[in-house]
């Protein structure tokens, strides 16, 4: 049996509420400065929650410079195109005619693809009194606009990425709610290991900061109602936490087979070393108080990386700031790390930029790679009073310096899908390879 193919992270792209690129996002994450604010994308004044973490000042035209392509792109697709462009540029490699079939693309795609103005146009024409009459849409312009149709398709995002970068290999979009981004990156890792692809553009994109998107979370009381204090609304692990802060954006990685990355002299942020995946099979929205589900995902990621729990220095938690998630996730951390949970630094990127839903796992994978590169655990913002039920070693307020050998990133979704990714410091990977492992 030949040695298993390893996977290098050689490119990162981020478009988030914390910044429009990697440098600005990483700076704000390190500064632990919350991105919540009043919603400006639409009039949210009547909603129980009127705050979110919006991507501000974003213009997709300069980076993409293709008006025709952008016509087919929704807000979330534009984030995706820009973040993917950053990642490809950062990696310094892109598909060519010769190797395009050996490039794959896997994305965590947001569930809401239709702009509110389009929903409203259909309603006015076909349901003026609230009840839908099919004949009402026959002459309605939006219902006859094939460009609107193409944006609405579940493959709209991946289609734009495949075309933009000329990718011809394995292509898949996944959606397991808040676990989507993590599962997409994990699938991409596996494609390279299997030999199905040599390089994969992997990431996630989402924007649910729209009337219908926000409604879904308000109806479930899942979002924080702290309208008067938006910067502190997301406070994972704090005793007073009361829901998550809705964010939006995209994160993309370029993943490469390790040896080919080394041979071309690429800068390697980290090894994407393991993917763990499990189902909670408990309730749709609730996590099991014992941490059952996330426990298996974390253990599988560690085992998949050929590591032990004692190798892990940092955990980028799912940490949504909902009362239930954080408690259950911390229970899982204490089980997985047995007696040494206190030695593992824990923080939630959502404390700064809110919850990017289908993009969250991919963005947080990028944050883990940056943390390893800089030897710096990013802080958890907004923690004033630690919930005694969240008995883990939180990296509070300021970054914690120190070499990170291995890191984990959790993404736990509605519907019970749990994803955990494991990352390894490239120096350690080089040492393992030198030792014949």
């Amino acid at each position: 049996m030949t040695a298993r193919r390893r996977v290098a992270i050689t490119g990162i792209g981020l478009v988030t509420p914390a910044g429009l690129d990697v440098a600005s996002t990483w700076a704000r994450v390190k500064a632990a400065k919350g991105c919540g604010g009043p919603i400006t994308l639409f009039d949210a004044s009547g909603f129980s929650t009127r705050i979110a973490a919006e991507v501000k000042g974003f213009d997709s035209l300069p980076p993409i410079d293709d008006r025709k392509l952008l016509k087919y792109a929704s807000r979330a697709h534009r984030f995706a195109l820009a973040a993917a462009d950053q990642a490809i540029t950062d990696a310094g490699i892109r598909p060519t005619q010769q190797d395009a079939a050996r490039w794959g693309c896997v994305v965590g795609a947001g569930m809401m693809t239709i702009a509110h103005a389009e929903i409203a146009a259909i309603q006015k024409a076909a349901a003026p009194d609230g009840e839908f009459q099919a004949n009402g849409i026959l002459e309605e312009p939006v219902a006859n606009d094939v460009v609107a149709f193409s944006r609405s398709l579940s493959t709209a995002g991946i289609s734009l990425l495949l075309r933009r970068f000329g990718i011809r290999g394995y292509a898949s979009s996944v959606h397991t709610a808040c676990a989507s981004g993590g599962q997409a990156v994990g699938t991409a890792l596996r494609l390279i290991r299997r030999g199905v692809a040599d390089r994969v553009l992997a990431g996630g994109f989402d924007s649910m900061i729209s009337p219908v998107g926000l409604s879904g979370f308000c109806l479930l009381s899942a979002v924080s109602p702290d309208n008067d204090n938006p910067e502190r609304a997301s406070r994972p692990f704090d005793l007073t936490r009361n829901g998550f802060l809705l964010g939006e954006g995209a994160g993309f990685l370029v993943l490469e087979e390790w040896n080919s990355a080394v041979q071309r002299g690429a800068t390697i942020y980290a090894e994407l070393a393991g993917d763990g995946n499990s189902l909670s099979s408990y309730r749709i929205t609730d996590s099991h108080p014992s941490g059952d589900g996330p426990i298996q995902a974390m253990r599988r990621a560690i085992a998949d990386a050929g590591a032990e729990q004692s190798d892990i220095d940092y955990l980028n938690a799912h940490g949504t700031s909902t009362p239930m998630n954080d408690r259950s996730e911390c229970a899982a951390v204490n089980v997985v790390f047995e007696g040494r949970a206190k030695e593992v630094g824990v923080s939630s990127t959502k404390s700064v930029m809110g919850h990017l839903i289908a993009a969250a796992g991919a963005v947080e994978a990028g944050i883990c790679a940056l943390a390893i590169r800089d030897g710096l655990m990013p802080p958890n913002a907004n923690l004033q009073q630690l919930d005694p039920d969240c008995d883990v070693n939180i990296v509070r307020d300021v970054p914690r310096a120190g070499r990170i050998g291995m890191a984990l990133s959790n993404s736990l979704g509605f519907g019970g899908s749990n994803s955990c990714l494991a990352f390894r410091n490239p120096e350690e990977t080089a040492a393992l390879i030198a030792a014949g492992r």
Binding site: F47, G130, A134, N144, G169, A171, V174, P211, S281
Partner: protein, 425 residues
């Protein structure tokens, strides 16, 4: 990598042609089309009034759980039904009941689920129409009246990963999982990912499910605008082919390692041999005329299975009845198989295009047909289109050339996938 055999122990489907694989293949081999008038809305003024709907739909009965009906949509009902059928056919619930708690927990951790999901893209937002009618152009009123008008469980009913969630809760599946939302190739990708989870040793058993219910007014109108809808029926590869017709339904396969199947004494229906996926990436509605993506997907599947093209015994083509797809699919098959093409069939002429579930429904039908040694004919084929010359397809049922089945699937965004199976007889 060590590759243990991956066997199939459960096989289920629901579509316009029936509630199980036997009934569906009976319908196809009898040459019956299930395309008929759309019952969902009055189509008198519509460009087309035909689809292949699941008739006498009774969600509560299909789920066996009326309460669950409030938490899911029509597409999910099909998926949960198909998943449950395949799991029961494989004898999983009966077996796990005999296990002690610790062994059952370990068994659950080793059982995964991958779902290809589609369905209800537009109607999901229609639930907000009463609220929007009430609030007019005022979003402030929309926000204020929200909780008085909209079902509090709206988001949960709308999740694309509902089937994964409910099937796993119902059957205590805790292993590797995924929900693939890649439009038409979703179902076939769910099978490919399931097989890899077994090959990589991450699970011992995986149920692969795919579901969709795309017969919505807005979808139909758009497809017509794009020029993909037939004026009447779907005639794959025929000189009169003029577009596709929508269908709906779901399918599921229970895949497992040979050791896991033997442990339960499960009947083996067939074997998964390999899969491949390739994209053309030229745009959302673009297809290359030379069949490049599809031929690469087939070659990848053959290589993955370690098979020669000559060993394939029958092909279930995508055959969506649009001129561009039929012609480029023929080009791809000629590129791979040349003059030595095994018998080809396609199912959409009878059951319509099931989008996200079409690939998995075709797998289930192909497996059942090959177990009988029959390649169902395409009953409405009169004259092969000139652009499809050389395709080995007939109106009549024929014998399979071997027990190996190749199933093809193509979708928007230039995505193509292929899977190879061996049918047990």
């Amino acid at each position: 990598m060590e590759m243990s055999r991956i066997v199939i122990t459960g096989n289920s489907a629901i579509c316009a042609a029936g509630l199980d694989p036997t009934a569906i293949v009976d319908t196809l081999t009898a040459g019956r089309s299930m395309i008929g008038p759309i019952a969902g809305w009055d189509t008198e003024k519509w460009p087309t009034s035909l689809a292949a709907e699941v008739s006498d739909y009774n969600g509560g009965k299909l789920l066996g759980d009326r309460k669950l009906l409030k938490l899911v949509r029509r597409s999910d009902v099909f998926g949960i039904y198909a998943g449950t059928q395949a799991i029961e056919q494989a004898g999983l619930p009966a077996y796990t009941e005999t296990l002690d708690e610790a062994t059952a927990a370990e068994y659950a951790d080793q059982t995964g689920c991958y779902v290809g999901s589609g369905g209800g893209a537009f109607e999901v937002s229609y639930d907000f129409f009463p609220l929007m009618a009430e609030s007019g152009d005022s979003l402030a009123t929309f926000g204020k009246e929200l909780s008085n008008t909209v079902n509090p469980m709206w988001l949960l009913r709308s999740l694309p990963n509902n089937v994964l969630c409910h099937v796993s809760i119902r059957n205590q599946l805790k292993g590797p999982n995924g929900c693939i939302t890649n439009h038409t190739t979703s179902g076939i990708l769910s099978v490919i990912e399931s097989a890899w989870a077994l090959r990589e040793g991450d699970a011992q058993r995986v149920v692969a499910i795919a579901h969709d219910a795309p017969i919505e007014p807005q979808t139909l109108l758009y497809l017509d605008q794009v020029g993909l809808v037939s004026k009447d029926v779907l005639r794959p590869f025929d000189s009169r082919h003029d577009g596709c017709v929508l269908g709906e339904g779901a399918a599921a396969l229970m895949l497992e390692t040979e050791a896991s199947a033997k442990q339960r004494g499960a009947s083996i229906l067939g074997e998964y041999l390999g899969g491949g996926d390739a994209s053309e990436g030229e745009g959302i509605f673009c297809i290359r005329a030379d069949g490049d993506g599809l031929s690469r997907a087939i070659e990848l599947a053959l290589a993955d299975a370690g098979l020669q093209a000559s060993e394939v015994g029958m092909i279930v083509a995508h055959g969506n009845g649009t001129e561009q797809s039929d012609a480029s699919e023929t080009a791809a098959l000629l590129r791979v198989f040349g003059k030595d093409m095994p018998p080809v069939t396609a199912n959409k002429w009878s059951i319509g295009h099931l989008f996200a579930s079409s690939g998995l429904v075709d797998i289930v039908i192909g497996l059942e047909a090959a177990r009988r040694g029959v390649v169902p004919g395409v009953a409405n084929l009169e004259q092969l289109a000139a652009s499809c010359a050389g395709l080995n397809i007939t109106k009549q049922n024929r014998e399979t050339r071997s027990d190996v089945v190749l199933v093809l699937c193509r979708g928007f965004a230039g995505t193509n996938a292929a899977v190879l199976l061996r049918a047990a007889r």
